[in-house]
Amino acid sequence: MGRLLGIAIWLITIASVWMFLSGKWWFPASISEHGPRVDSQFTITIIVVGIAFTAAQVGLGWVVFKFRDNADKQRATYSHGNNRLEVIWTVVTAVIFISLAIMGQRVWASLHLHSAPPGSYQIEVVAQQFSWNFHYPGKDNVFGKTDPNLIDDSSLNFVGLDDSDPNAKDDSVVSTLAVPVNRPVELILRSKDVTHSFFVPQLRFKQDLVPGMGIHVHFTATKIGKYELACAELCGMNHYKMKSYMLVLPQNEFDELVALPQDKFQTKKDELFNKYQLPTY
C-alpha cells in the first residue's frame, strides 16, 4: 500500500505540474502596459510555488514509499525532533515567502498607489444590473452634472445626466467602452444598485464598482482591438451575462469618436465595433 500511495502521489504531482507547463491553459495575451509585469510576477511565483509543491509532494511520496511497515524491520526511529532543522526551515521559508510578498506589491503600487498620470483620458463607468454604461465628457472634456434622482432607465437616462447643465450637452453615454491605445485612461467607477466588478482578462485588471463610491483607477492599453468585458462580482440572477466590450482604438479614431455628439457617437461606435474582431482563443 505504501509503494502504491507513494507512486500515486508522484503521478498526481506530475499531472498537476504538466497542467501548468503544457501551455494549453494560460492567460489570454496581455494588452496593457502593466500586463507583462503581472505575467512575469506570476511566472516567478508559479515557479517558486511549483518547486515547493513538487518538493513537498515528492518528499511525502518518498516517506510513505520508503518507511512502510515490514515485518523484519526494527522499531521506528525514536526522535522528538530537531531544533536546528526547525530553525533552518522556518528562516528559509520566511525569507522566500516575504520576498515574494514584497515583489508581489510592485505592479499594484505602480497603479494603485499613484494617481493617474497627467494627460489621462477620463471616462465614467456606471454599472447596473445587468449592463454597463460608459459616460464620456464630450468635446469640452468636462463631465455634465449627474444626480441619482434623475436616473430613469425607461427614458434612457441611465446615469442621471442633468440636461440643464451646459457641460452635459455634449456628453455621451454608451454601452461599450472605447479607450485610446497607448494613452493612460482613468476610469471613475460607480454603481447604481449593487456591487459589480470590472474585468477585462487581457487587461490584467479587475476592480469592484461599489454603490455610494466613486473609485478612481487607471491603466494604459497597448494593443488595438476588441475585448470582452465581464462582471466579476456576483450581482444577481443575470450576473453571468452582464457583458460588454472594450475597444482599444488608434488615437485618431478615438479622438474623432469622442468629439461626436451622442447620436453620432453611437453610430460611429457601432461602426468601429464591427471593424475590430475579438482575439482568437
Binding site: Q41, T45, T77, N82, V194, G212
Partner: protein, 629 residues
C-alpha cells in the same frame, strides 16, 4: 486542577430515559455524535447541490423530472434557471462552511474526545453543551426552511405573512447572493432579485442562531481544557488534537460575535429601515430606493471577513490536529517537533485575524491597507510550512501502518500542501488583479478548507469509530473509499486552476456568453464527471459507517495500539468516561518506539518506573522537554 482531585464535583448519574439519554443528553459523547450526525446529514444536501450545479454547467438545459416536481418554478420543465443555480451556489457554500466544516471537526470530534483526552469526565458546562448543539440544530432547520420558503409557493405564502421583507416563493432554493451575502444585493429585498426576500431573512437568522450555538460551544471548550485536565496532564503533554480544538475555540469565540453583529445589522437594514450597509441614491430595478442613506457596503465586507478568514482556520485546524495525532500513531513515532507544532497552530490562529483584507484587495478599500494585508497573508505560509515539514519529519524513519485513517491523514497532508500553496499566488495584490473571483480562488479554498478539512474528518472518523461504537469500520471498504476520493478530489479541483488561468469567473450560471471561455468546455466536462464519480463513492462511506455500527468487527479498548487516554477505557466509554477513577498521566502524548520499552508504545497513564524509556524523552530535542514538564 482542583476538580480532578474531587471527581464528584462534575459527576452526574447516567440518565435512564430515552429522551435524556439520546435526545436532550448532557453527555459530551452523545452530543459529539449528534454533531457528527448533523454534519453527515447536512453534507448530503451540500453534495447534491454541487452535483446539480455541475450538471447545469456541463449540460445546460438538462431536464430533470424530480426538479420539476420539487421546484416547478425554479426549474420550469425540469430545466434549472440561472437564479436557481445561484441559489444552489449560496446554499452549498452556507451548508458546507457552517453546518459541515464547523460542526463535525469541532462540535463533533472535539466534543467527544477533548474531555476524554485530557482525562475529564465531561465538559465543564454540560447543559451549555446540550444547548449549543440544539441551538445549532435549530439554525439548520431555519436554513432548510429558507429552501422551501423560496422554492415552494405554499410555504412561501405562509412565510410572506410575516411582512413585506419576508416575501417568498420566488422559485429558488434560497438567496442568490452567495454565502458571503454582500450588500446591497442582500440588503435590498426582493427588488434585487429572486430569492432575496424570505430567503435572505431566513438565511441571516439561521447564521445568527448558528453563531450563538458556536459561541456556547467555544466557551465550554476553553473552560474545559484550561480547568479540567487530570493529574499530570500538563499543557505540553496534551495530544495535538487538544491544542487544535483549543485554538479553534478561541478563534470561534473572537470571530463569531462579529458575524453575529454584522448579521443583526443586515437584518435591521432589511426589516427596520436602517442604513448600515445601504448608501443613498440607489436605483434598483427601475426605481429609486427611498429612505436609505449613508450606509457602507464595504463595512459588511470588513465584518464578514473579520469572521470569514478565521473561519477558514476553524474548519481546518481540527483536521491538522487529527492528522498530527493519526500520523504519529501509525508511523509508530513521536510527533516531530511537538513544540514547534503547538507554536505553529497558535501562529496560524493568531495571524489568521490580521489577513481578512486579502478578500478585499479590489473591493475599493484603501490600496495601502491592501499592501499590509498582502504581506501578512504570505507570512501565514511560514507556520503552515512548519507544519508540513514536521509531518514529513514524523514520517521519516517511521514504520508506517497503512490503515484507512492513516491513508486519509497522509491524503490530508498532500491536499493541504496542494491547496495552501496557491495562497502564495492569490495573496499577492498584483496577481489578485487577475485571479480575484476566478476559479483559481475556487480551486484554492476548496482544496484547503474544503477537501483537506474533510480528509481530516474522514481520518478522524475511521480512527475513532471503534472507540465511539465499539466496532471497527470495514478496512477494505475504507481503502476503496480513500482511493477513489483521493484521486477524485484532485481530478475535480486541479483543473479549476486552469480555468482560473483562462480568467473564468466564479458564480456564473453559464460560460456560454464569453468567447474567452470557449476553451474551457473540455475542462468543465472533465470536472463534472470526476465530481459525479467522487460523490457517488461517498455512498460506500455511509454504508460502511452505519453497517459497521452493528456488524463491524468488535474492537478492543485499544485496537490501534495508541497512547492517549481515550484508549485506556472501554469502547464505547462508560457514561462518565473513567468510571469514577481519576487517570494520572506520566508521559507525553506520543511515546512510540521508545528504546528499551517492552512495547512500541507507552500509554500516557503508564507509571514512570514501568516504562524506563521515558527517561530518554528529553534527550533527543524538541518535544522532549515539554513531555517531561
Amino acid at each position: 486542577m482542583a476538580e480532578a482531585t474531587h471527581p464528584e464535583v462534575h459527576r452526574h448519574p447516567a440518565p435512564t430515559g430515552f429522551i435524556r439519554k439520546y435526545i436532550f443528553s448532557l453527555d459530551h459523547k452523545v452530543i459529539g455524535i449528534q454533531y457528527i450526525l448533523l454534519a453527515l446529514s447536512a453534507v448530503v444536501v451540500g453534495m447534491i447541490m454541487s452535483v446539480l450545479m455541475r450538471v447545469n454547467l456541463s449540460w445546460p438545459g438538462t431536464h430533470l423530472k424530480i426538479m420539476e416536481t420539487l421546484f416547478p418554478q425554479g426549474a420550469p420543465g425540469g430545466v434549472m434557471t440561472p437564479e436557481f443555480y445561484l441559489s444552489l451556489v449560496t446554499m452549498h457554500g452556507t451548508i458546507m462552511v457552517f453546518f459541515v466544516l464547523t460542526t463535525a471537526p469541532q462540535g463533533g470530534f472535539g466534543n467527544y474526545f477533548l474531555p476524554i483526552q485530557i482525562g475529564a469526565d465531561d465538559m465543564a458546562f454540560p447543559v451549555l453543551n446540550m444547548m449549543s448543539f440544539w441551538v445549532t440544530f435549530v439554525g439548520f432547520l431555519v436554513l432548510l426552511l429558507a429552501i422551501f420558503a423560496e422554492g415552494n409557493a405554499t410555504v412561501g405564502g405562509w412565510i410572506s405573512k410575516l411582512g413585506e421583507s419576508f416575501a417568498g416563493g420566488s422559485g429558488t432554493v434560497g438567496p442568490i447572493g452567495g454565502w458571503t451575502g454582500y450588500p446591497p444585493l442582500s440588503a435590498l429585498g426582493k427588488i434585487a432579485g429572486p430569492g432575496q426576500g424570505a430567503g435572505v431573512n431566513l438565511w441571516i437568522i439561521s447564521i445568527a442562531i448558528f453563531c450563538v450555538g458556536s459561541l456556547l460551544g467555544a466557551l465550554n471548550f476553553i473552560t474545559t481544557l484550561l480547568n479540567m485536565r487530570t493529574r499530570g496532564m500538563s499543557l505540553m503533554r496534551m495530544p495535538l488534537t487538544c491544542w487544535a480544538w483549543f485554538t479553534t475555540a478561541i478563534l470561534a469565540l473572537l470571530s463569531f460575535p462579529v458575524l453575529l453583529g454584522g448579521g443583526i445589522l443586515l437584518l435591521l437594514d432589511r426589516i427596520a429601515g436602517t442604513s448600515f450597509f445601504i448608501p443613498g441614491g440607489l436605483y434598483v430595478s427601475g426605481s429609486t430606493v427611498p429612505l436609505h442613506n449613508g450606509g457602507s457596503p464595504l463595512l459588511w465586507q470588513h465584518l464578514f471577513w473579520f469572521f470569514g478568514h478565521p473561519e477558514v482556520y476553524i474548519a481546518i485546524l481540527p483536521g491538522m490536529g487529527a492528522t498530527s495525532h493519526i500520523l504519529s500513531t501509525f508511523a509508530r513515532k513521536p510527533v516531530f517537533g511537538y513544540r514547534a507544532m503547538v507554536f505553529a497552530i497558535f501562529a496560524i490562529g493568531g495571524l489568521g485575524f490580521f489577513v481578512w483584507g486579502h478578500h478585499m484587495f479590489i473591493s475599493g478599500m484603501s490600496p495601502y491597507s491592501a499592501v499590509a494585508f498582502s504581506i501578512l497573508t504570505l507570512s501565514i505560509g511560514v507556520p503552515s510550512a512548519i507544519k508540513t515539514f514536521n509531518w514529513l519529519g514524523t514520517l521519516w524513519g517511521a514504520k508506517i501502518r497503512f490503515t484507512t485513517p492513516m491513508l486519509f491523514a497522509i491524503g490530508f497532508v498532500s491536499l493541504f500542501v496542494a491547496g495552501g500553496i496557491t495562497g502564495l499566488v492569490l495573496g499577492q495584490t498584483s496577481l489578485d488583479f487577475f485571479f480575484h473571483d476566478t476559479y483559481f480562488v475556487t480551486a484554492h479554498f476548496h482544496l484547503v478548507m474544503g477537501v483537506a478539512s474533510i480528509f481530516g474528518m474522514f481520518a478522524a472518523t475511521y480512527f475513532w469509530f471503534p472507540k465511539m461504537f465499539g466496532r471497527m469500520m470495514n478496512e477494505s471498504l475504507g481503502k476503496f473509499h480513500f482511493w477513489i476520493t483521493f484521486l477524485g478530489v484532485y481530478a475535480i479541483f486541479v483543473p479549476f486552476h486552469a480555468m482560473g488561468l483562462l480568467g473564468m469567473p466564479r458564480r456564473y450560471a453559464s460560460f456560454g456568453e464569453y468567447e474567452f471561455l470557449k476553451n474551457s468546455h473540455s475542462l468543465v466536462l472533465f470536472v463534472t464527471i470526476a465530481a459525479i464519480i467522487t460523490v457517488a463513492v461517498q455512498v460506500v462511506f455511509y454504508f460502511n459507517f452505519f453497517w459497521s455500527m452493528f456488524k463491524g468487527k468488535v474492537a478492543g479498548d485499544n485496537p490501534w495500539e495508541a497512547t492517549t487516554l481515550e484508549w485506556t477505557i472501554p469502547s464505547p466509554p462508560p457514561h462518565d468516561n473513567f468510571a469514577g477513577v481519576v487517570p494520572v498521566v506520566y508521559h507525553g502524548a506520543y511515546e512510540f518506539s521508545v528504546p528499551g520499552a517492552p512495547n512500541d508504545f507507552i500509554m500516557q497513564t503508564e507509571p514512570e518506573g514501568v516504562a524506563l524509556g521515558a527517561e530518554l524523552g528529553g534527550a533527543s530535542g524538541n518535544g522532549g522537554n515539554g513531555h517531561k514538564a
